[in-house]
Symmetry: D3
Subunit: 67 residues, 6 copies
């Protein structure tokens, strides 16, 4: 019954990589807390780099500076 939300920047994660995240986090919750995988929900949000900030700057600007 757990609900997991993963937010990453939108920088080319493939369908296969996202399927691997879903499988991995569902297994982790089963292994650590014995949660039923059938009702574990995972939602992945891919966020534009203009809309993600860290260190007071957008990721877009950080990438331009080579950070």
């Amino acid at each position: 019954m757990p609900y997991v939300n993963i937010k990453i920047t939108n920088e080319g994660a493939t369908k296969e990589q996202k399927a691997e995240l879903i499988k991995g986090v569902t297994e982790l919750l089963q292994r650590v807390l014995n949660k039923n995988p059938q009702t574990t929900v995972v939602v992945i949000d891919e966020v534009e780099t203009d809309n993600w900030g860290i260190g007071g700057e957008s990721v877009t600007n950080r990438r331009l500076q080579g950070k």
Copy 2:
């Protein structure tokens, strides 16, 4: 003053259906908890089926298997 976030897979909900969800959940909060509808905020997120997992698999893969 409540805030409601509804997440569904992006599979063709119409503008009218989304308006009905907004109206319905706002009325529910007014009826059950006497919340002021004027300040009830509802945000609907439509999530790609590649990005939604249940049972350890993406909804895209489940649809391909007829689940």
Copy 3:
């Protein structure tokens, strides 16, 4: 498979009222979008009035002013 998060201020909603919100929003998603109620997840967050702001003030301060 929908996921719904309802945030309200922590001002005495009863167990019965919360059960009614869960039932009501699950039925709404079934009626409007034909979503399977068995996999609809609802999470209610009750937030302290010091931690909820509207109009630039906390709800605690608004209540003191009779708003």
Copy 4:
């Protein structure tokens, strides 16, 4: 280490305005709570007006009525 999520309607915020929000909220957390800006994360979600409700109606419908 704070995490901030800002949700606004998708009505033309520019890249520069979003950078200003990121900078402003990061500085606010540093000033008020002495939080380290280097690990403050900000995510901005721009939500379609069909998917945002207030007062029981979508913002799309409110705009049509001149609200």
Copy 5:
């Protein structure tokens, strides 16, 4: 830079189990998407069973029925 939110019912997860979830999901993001673990943020919410619904009922009520 990813942000992960894990929501589970408040039913006795230990400090050690929560540390294992944090470690596990951080490693998963590093392995699958090469994300920097130093800036991966994980937040775990433990939700009262009265406030978590599935199948239109609270988890509290489901537990009473032996579901």
Copy 6:
């Protein structure tokens, strides 16, 4: 109409500091995007240090190591 969620660790933010965050972020959205402060909603979540992870460890463990 914006909605802002601020998550911080539960390490003693006062009522006054939280009121200052609410005021500050509401003013920021008015200044940068001309958003109406009367309908700007801010929710602050204070998260236990056992439940917040960064760098693959809980904040509780990091504090013990003097990080």
